[in-house]
Symmetry: C2
C-alpha cells in the first residue's frame, strides 16, 4: 500500500511557524530515509496568502533526487503550473496535484470561483501538464463535507469526476475531517464507473478521530494510495484546536501490521515526526507511535 507523504506541503502549510528551506529539505530527507517514495513537497500558491510555501521553487531545487523518489507540487491554477514549468528541468516536480473544491461556497471562498469554473480551469492545466510529461492528480476537496454548507452529495463528487477530463489519479479529500467509513466505500463506488481505470487516492484528516478508520475503509475499497504527514502535523483551518492529517508513522504501523507492506519503517518515521514537531515548536505531535513505540511480530500468529 502506497503512502503519499504530504507533511512538507499540507502539513507545513497549516502550521503557524514558517520554516527555513533547509529545515524543509531535512524533513524531506528524513521522509526518504524512513522509506517514503512519493512526497508532496511544495505548493505554488500566492506567497502573500501562503507564506509557508513561498520558497516552493527553492525547495524543489534543493531536494535530493534519489532513484525512485517522486515529488509532487500543489498547483491551484494556470499561474501555478507556469511556475512549475518555468523551473529548470532537473528541479521540476514529477507530479502536480490540482485541487477542485466539491462545494460551490467553499470553492468561491478558497479559489474565488464556482466548482464548475474551477474544473474548467483544471482541464486546461491538466492538459498542459500532461503534455509537459507531468503526472496529474485531481484532488476533490471537501468531498466528504463542506465547512460552510454541510453535507456534500455523493452525486456531486461523481459528476465532478465525470467532467474532469483525462487525469492520472483522482484523490478524494476529507479536507475538514468529517467523513466516516461507509462514506469512503460509497464515494469509491460512485466515482469508479465515471473514471474507469483511474487509480484512486484518499486524503484524510483525523479531526474527529475517524481518519484511520477511513483509511482502513479506503484500503478495503481499492484505493491505491493514502496521504499522510509525518508527525500528523498540519491541523485543520476549520477546527483550529484539532489535529492534522493522519500521521504517516501511525498509518504505516496500522498497514504494515495488517499485512499491507508500505515500505515505511515506523520507528524511523516516528523519529522524523517527533523531529518536525520540535522544529515547529509543538509540545507534542498528534502522531502516537513516537510515544507508544512499535510492537513486534506478526499480528496473525496462530
Amino acid at each position: 500500500m502506497e503512502i503519499v507523504e504530504v507533511g512538507p506541503r499540507d502539513g507545513l502549510q497549516n502550521e503557524k511557524r514558517v520554516l527555513p528551506t533547509a529545515v524543509k529539505i531535512a524533513y524531506v530527507e528524513r521522509a526518504i530515509a524512513a522509506g517514503l517514495r512519493r512526497i508532496e513537497v511544495a505548493a505554488f500558491a500566492r506567497p502573500d496568502r501562503v507564506p509557508q510555501m513561498a520558497d516552493a521553487a527553492e525547495v524543489l531545487r534543493a531536494a535530493p533526487r534519489p532513484e525512485g523518489v517522486r515529488y509532487t507540487a500543489l498547483v491551484l491554477n494556470g499561474r501555478g503550473l507556469d511556475r512549475a514549468l518555468a523551473l529548470e528541468e532537473a528541479a521540476r516536480p514529477d507530479e502536480i496535484n490540482y485541487v477542485v473544491v466539491a462545494s460551490d461556497e467553499f470553492s468561491r471562498r478558497n479559489q474565488g470561483m464556482s466548482t464548475a469554473d474551477s474544473l474548467a480551469a483544471f482541464r486546461e492545466v491538466a492538459a498542459r501538464a500532461r503534455e509537459a510529461g507531468l503526472f496529474v492528480t485531481l484532488t476533490v476537496a471537501a468531498a466528504f463535507g463542506c465547512p460552510f454548507t454541510g453535507p456534500v452529495p455523493v452525486s456531486r463528487v461523481r459528476d465532478l469526476v465525470a467532467d474532469a477530463g483525462p487525469v492520472d489519479e483522482i484523490c478524494l479529500a476529507d479536507t475538514i475531517g468529517v467523513g466516516v467509513p461507509p462514506q469512503v466505500t460509497e464515494l469509491a463506488g460512485a466515482v469508479r464507473p465515471v473514471a474507469p481505470g483511474v487509480p484512486l487516492r484518499a486524503h484524510f484528516h483525523n479531526t474527529r478521530n475517524a481518519g484511520y478508520a477511513n483509511a482502513t475503509a479506503a484500503v478495503a475499497s481499492g484505493f491505491g494510495a493514502l496521504d499522510a504527514s509525518l508527525g500528523g502535523i498540519g491541523g485543520c483551518p476549520f477546527a483550529p484546536a484539532a489535529t492534522g492529517n493522519i500521521a504517516t508513522e501511525d498509518l504505516a504501523y496500522l498497514l504494515n501490521r495488517s499485512g499491507l507492506a508500505t515500505g515505511v519503517d515506523v520507528t524511523s518515521a516516528a523519529g522524523a515526526g517527533a523531529w518536525i514537531g520540535e522544529q515547529l515548536g509543538l509540545a507534542a505531535v498528534p502522531a502516537q507511535l513516537g510515544r507508544a513505540g512499535d510492537f513486534p511480530g506478526d499480528h496473525l500468529l496462530r
Copy 2:
C-alpha cells in the same frame, strides 16, 4: 450499536488524580444524560494497589438508578465478588466484568497466577455470580498482544474462551493498544465457534491511533458492544505518554454518522468528556469531538 461507558472505571483507574466519590457520580450522571445505558462504574480491587477505585461500594450506593441503566463492576477474584454481593440489594452492580489475562507472564505480574489458574478462579466466580443473578462478562485482557512477551497467538485466546465455562458475554480487550483491524476479524472468527451464541464485546485503546479502525472492524465482525470512555481518558500504563480508551464521543460520532445509532448525543457526550478532563486537571482530553464539533446531516446524501 451499544457503547459501554468505561470511563468511570478503566478511565479513572489509569489517571493519577484520585477523584472524590461525588465527582465520580457527577461523571456517571453526565454519561446517562448523554444517552449511555451501560456503565462500568467501579472495580473491586485492593485499595492499596488501586486507590482510584477504593470507594467502589460508595459509588455503587450513590449512583442514580434510572430505568434502563445497567452498572458493571470489575471483579478480579472471589474476594471482589464477595464485596459486590455484600452490598445491599439496591446497591449491587447489575453485571460483573472479570478479567483473565491471555499471556502467562502478564497474568502472573497482574493477577499473581498463570492464565490457567486465573481462568479456573473465573469459572468459580462466574458460577456464583450468575447464581446470584448477575450478568457476567469475561474480559480476555492482552488478547491482541502482551507488553512483556509480544504477540499473543489467536489459538491461545480461542482456547481460553473454550475453557471459560458458562458466561453471558466475552470481551476481547486490546489492553495495550497494539491491535490492527484484521486481528479483530481473525479473533472474532476464532472465538465464535467455541462460544456459540455468546455476544462479543471489544475493548480498544487508541495508543497507536488504530483504536477507531479496530472498532469499525469489530462492528463489521459482529461484535455487539464496544467499550469507550467519555473524553478518551485513561492513558495506558504500558505507554505512559499515550492516550487511553477510545473516546465515547468520537466513537459515537463515527457510529451514528455511519448509520449505526448508538443513542448517544455526541455534543452532550463531548461536554461530559471536556468536563471530566477539567476534573482530572488535564490540559486537554484525547477525545476530539469537543474541539472539532459535530457535523450535521446524513453522510450518505445522494
